[in-house]
């Protein structure tokens, strides 16, 4: 129970009071990144620039003029966000060595607040996948694989089994970011969420994963997967921190025409004590085939928790949930096929040596640059977009999408404030087991609980809830109304307080443990 008031340290306050300096904080994080290299959470570590940023932050603190709560706070960013001076690879051969000339808006906003950018985190290639296993830099390992909690539980297994082959996946596609936050190498990380890519790894890595409402946060500079569903995601160790990061990055961006014009006001989360006015909806369709009995029980307990605290808890129905996978498949691949058309080797990125003709150069470049998963989706997408197929697939899928979105509208209109669902079907599986099925199969299975929120553009958050029998994190998901992030996060924060999710016990973190480093272990920075 590390979230008890006594243990909860406030890094920002510590920075302000000079108990720790930005440079010290930065160095600790960099050291921890080095000692947890086996997690493969980072693709690029920007040591030099990070230290420089920390130095600048330190100057500001000395002057008594920090830019805000985020000043000096080490963060990391998923490698599908554009960053100047630091490679942006999308974990693909297509963009190996690519250095963007501009920062994504969300990155710029964080830097403008004084955040220290430690590096770019690992992902599935071009964010396609649910394991963070299919990037060219190799898979990301879930830090919980090396936790005392997990190791204790796997003692019952054969002692001759190598720790190496036992490690579990982070989930995906923002696995690197989730692992980075989970292993304390940074205080917050940016991910992206198209079908669950922030919430899924958040659940498996025991961290908070927020998917904001579509249109709230700028996508300018986020290399797109599905433009009509992508959002930047926020990963932190507690809900309050997620609110702080959200406050720094949300709001209209003239460079992104899909962001809403309304003024966004950052908010602080109240400490909810009375939930009697809340109506929690439990969508019965989320009792999906394959849902582990463990998670089912946890979900049920959570519902009871709310009921016992006085909230109204009712079963609701989202009848079109079962069509969301195929619908997502059609719309996602169609947009992917379109978005990937720009990768031809001409202006940037990998260019094949094949130069007999422009066409052959394009074909070879794309064959060499993309992995099977990407190419598979492009082919599918192009198929659905063919004139003769467009009506039957794309248009149909658009209609089904509207139905899925209407399901939510109806439920929220009926008086429900928040929906409570599981985030994943089970706890994290071992890598060796995960790779037995292909990427498409896995994505199909794993996205079921998360991607309806992307279809409908709704905000959703994973809150780490409890450890599984295997000692691995299980999270539960809250889905809220459009642009009602404050309400969503308030409820999530109350829930977080009730469940008191345990802190990960990592050797590497312990080794660096001394007075100053208490801040590192702190769940929150705000």
């Amino acid at each position: 129970g590390c979230l008890e008031k006594g243990m909860r340290l406030q890094v920002s306050a510590a920075l302000k009071e000079g108990q720790v300096t930005p440079t010290q904080l930065c160095q600790r994080c960099l050291a921890l990144i080095r000692s947890t290299k086996f997690l493969n959470a980072y693709i690029t570590v920007a040591e030099e620039s990070a230290l420089k940023q920390a130095e600048e932050s330190e100057k500001r603190y000395r002057r008594g003029q920090p830019l805000g709560v985020l000043d000096g706070i080490p963060i990391s960013v998923k490698d599908n966000f554009n960053t100047t001076g630091i490679e942006t690879t999308c974990a693909s051969n297509m963009l190996k060595g690519y250095i963007s000339p501009y920062n994504a808006t969300v990155v710029q906003k964080l830097l403008d607040q004084g955040a220290v950018l430690l590096g770019k985190t690992n992902l599935d290639e071009f964010a396609m996948g649910s394991g963070s296993t299919d990037g060219v830099f190799g898979p990301v390992r879930n830090p919980w694989s090396y936790s005392r909690q997990y190791k204790e539980k796997s003692v019952s297994k054969s002692l001759s089994e190598d720790e190496e082959s036992n490690w579990v996946i982070t989930g995906g596609s923002s696995g690197g970011s989730a692992a980075a936050v989970s292993s304390f190498t940074c205080f917050a990380a940016l991910g992206s969420d198209t079908g669950g890519s922030t919430r899924n790894p958040a659940a498996h890595c025991g961290v908070v994963g927020l998917k904001p409402t579509y249109g709230l946060i700028s996508r300018h500079g986020l290399i797109p997967l599905v433009n009509s569903m992508d959002v930047p995601g926020i990963l932190t160790r507690c809900v309050d921190d997620a609110a702080v990061v959200l406050g720094s990055v949300a709001g209209h961006d003239p460079k992104d025409s899909t962001t809403i014009q309304d003024n966004f006001k950052p908010f602080e989360l109240p400490d909810l004590t009375d939930v009697s006015k809340l109506s929690i909806g439990i969508p019965k369709e989320y009792h999906a085939p394959g849902l582990s009995s463990e998670i089912l029980a946890l979900w049920s307990n959570a519902a009871d928790l709310f009921k016992n605290a006085g909230a109204k808890v009712i079963e609701v129905s989202l009848p079109h949930t079962r069509y969301s996978i195929v619908c997502y498949h059609v719309l996602c691949t169609a947009e992917v096929a379109s978005n990937m058309a720009r990768f031809d080797g001409l202006e940037y990125g990998h260019r094949s040596d094949m130069n007999e003709s422009t066409e052959s150069m394009y074909a070879a470049t794309r064959r060499e640059g993309f992995n099977d998963v990407v190419r598979g989706r492009i082919l599918s997408g192009n198929y659905f977009l063919l004139k003769q197929n467009y009506e039957n697939y794309f248009i149909k899928a658009q209609k089904v999408r509207r139905l899925i979105a209407s399901d939510f509208v109806k439920v929220f209109r009926s008086g429900v404030d928040i929906l409570l669902t599981p985030t994943t079907l089970s706890d994290a599986v071992p890598y060796m087991e995960f790779i037995k099925e292909d990427n498409r199969t896995r994505s199909t299975q794993d996205d079921i609980l998360t991607q309806a929120a992307n279809m409908a553009g709704l905000p959703a958050i994973n809150v780490p809830t409890a450890l599984s029998e295997r000692g691995l994190p299980i999270g539960l998901q809250f889905i809220g109304r459009s642009f009602q992030e404050k309400q969503l996060l308030t409820v999530a924060k109350w829930f977080e307080k009730q469940v008191k999710f345990p802190m990960i016990q990592l050797e590497e973190v312990k080794r660096l443990d001394h007075g100053v480093f208490q801040h590192q272990k702190s769940a929150s920075f705000s």
Binding site: S100, R219, H220, S257, M340, R342, E347, T358
Partner: protein
């Protein structure tokens, strides 16, 4: 031999006259150093997003109104996919489903039998106007087996104007395009200079026997001037007629006009029919336009395009200008066409009229016959005329006051062309071209002539 009817439709791309491109802030400029006007978005750098340029929308609305179209208060953007070196994103953003303007018309005039004396008015329906991106330029360097790509033009705003197949020959097509050009230039929505690629015309041509359904059509591209447009269309019509009369068939193909040979040739086949895999552009919300009625009270006017406001601010279109000229100056309709057709000529004419007592309907003759033919002979524009409106007015005043004869005036004009800086009066004095007004002097001269030609006088008296 049964008669043939030709059917001609046009697809016209007009580059929008704006400071920046349709979806990005990079500049629009002709003949800039290669790849010097390319934003991150134009280069399709991953993660960049389109932002709609308001000025381009206004240009399209203006053009739609001038062409009597219905302006769609809600129009949509789509992606049209194909791979080509000058299309960095692998798709063009266009308006395929719902364009910004539809169902308009354009009236244009033709001279019957090549005489300027008989003009007839024709109308062509405008199917639609859509906003879309221009592509970059690619140049094939065969000696070094490479393709050079210049993206300066990539992303520049275009209005595609689709004219229904209501035209029947090259002359009609040319006249319609000429009128469109004038309209665009008057509005300022496009400079529409074909030589600079600001106006590109593709012609769709087919032939059939009267009463039969339309024949297979071909698309003719690579037409670089209005004159060539007429030639290309007429050639293609002839070619199709000959082909069919010889028992052949017409292929639904794309042909290029070869201006040197004056014929159309098949273009390289692009793997049969292209499927462009149209898809809605997800990064651009629907384009909503307002009018006075639908405009919400609290909306920021900077953020909004108001169709009624644009309509109010439309300048006089060429047809209106011509009618006004005819009325005001009592000239013939065909005169007004010539005046508008020549850049600066109307202004010149009006300036002369202002500065002279000669009636405008007499002045027009001097403008169109003398001034214009001289300029044409020497390939000069009105701006480059060595004779200014002031000088011409001066000369015409002398004529009007009967100080010189018409014949003498022409002589003076011939001198003025030399541009030696002399005034008409100075030339008259120099060449002794003054009309003699004095009765006695005239009598003396006449007597002299009679005295000097006794024989001729006797012949005349005898009859």
């Amino acid at each position: 031999l049964a008669s043939w009817v030709a059917v001609v439709g046009l697809e016209i791309h007009a580059q929008i006259s704006s400071n920046s491109k349709l979806f990005s802030g990079s500049q629009v400029q002709f003949a800039a150093p290669p790849n010097s006007l390319v934003s991150f978005f134009d280069a399709s750098l991953p993660g960049t997003l389109p932002v709609l340029n308001r000025r381009c929308v206004e240009a399209a609305v203006m053009t739609g109104l001038a062409l009597n179209c219905s302006i769609n208060k809600k129009s949509l953007f789509d992606r049209k996919h194909y791979f080509y070196a000058d299309l960095p994103a692998g798709y063009q953003i266009t308006q395929q489903r719902v364009p910004i303007a539809v169902n308009g018309s354009l009236s244009y005039s033709l001279c019957i039998d090549n005489k300027m004396s008989q003009m007839v008015t024709k109308t062509v329906r405008i199917k639609q106007i859509q906003l879309e991106q221009d592509s970059g330029k690619s140049l094939h360097d065969d000696t070094r087996s490479q393709t050079l790509v210049d993206l300066n033009r990539a992303g520049v705003g275009l209005m595609e104007v689709v004219m229904e197949p209501d035209m029947c020959c090259g002359e009609e097509a040319a006249a319609a395009v000429r009128e469109l050009q004038l309209i665009l230039q008057t509005l300022g929505s496009s400079q529409a200079v074909m030589a600079e690629g600001q106006l590109r015309v593709d012609a769709n041509v087919s032939v059939h026997h009267p009463g039969d359904p339309y024949g297979v059509r071909t698309e003719v591209k690579n037409i670089n001037s209005i004159r060539f447009l007429a030639k290309a269309v007429d050639y293609e019509i002839q070619r199709q007629i000959e082909e069919l009369e010889n028992g052949g068939t017409i292929l639904n193909e794309t042909r290029a006009f070869d201006s040197r040979l004056g014929c159309t040739v098949p273009m390289r086949d692009k793997e049969g029919k292209q499927d462009y895999r149209f898809m809605p552009e997800p990064n651009l919300p629907p384009l909503i336009l307002y009018d006075a009625k639908s405009l919400p009270a609290n909306m920021n006017h900077q953020q909004v395009v108001n169709i009624d406001l644009i309509r109010e601010r439309l300048p006089d279109l060429p047809s209106v200008k011509r009618a006004k000229l005819v009325e005001q100056y009592k000239i013939l309709p065909e005169h007004s066409f010539t005046l508008l057709n020549e850049e600066g000529l109307t202004e010149f004419f009006e300036n002369v009229v202002k500065q002279t007592q000669m009636k405008s309907r007499k002045v027009i003759g001097w403008i169109l016959n003398d001034l214009l033919s001289y300029l044409k002979q020497h390939s000069l524009t009105v701006k480059e005329s060595p004779v200014s409106s002031f000088l011409l007015a001066d000369l015409l005043n002398l004529l009007e006051k009967k100080e010189i004869s018409a014949a003498a005036a022409k002589q003076v004009l011939a001198e003025l062309w030399k541009g030696e800086g002399k005034t008409p009066l100075e030339i008259v004095k120099e060449k002794k071209l003054e009309l003699i007004q004095d009765q006695k002097e005239l009598e003396q001269i006449c007597q002299m002539v009679i005295d000097g030609h006794e024989n001729e006088v006797i012949m005349m008296v005898l009859g």
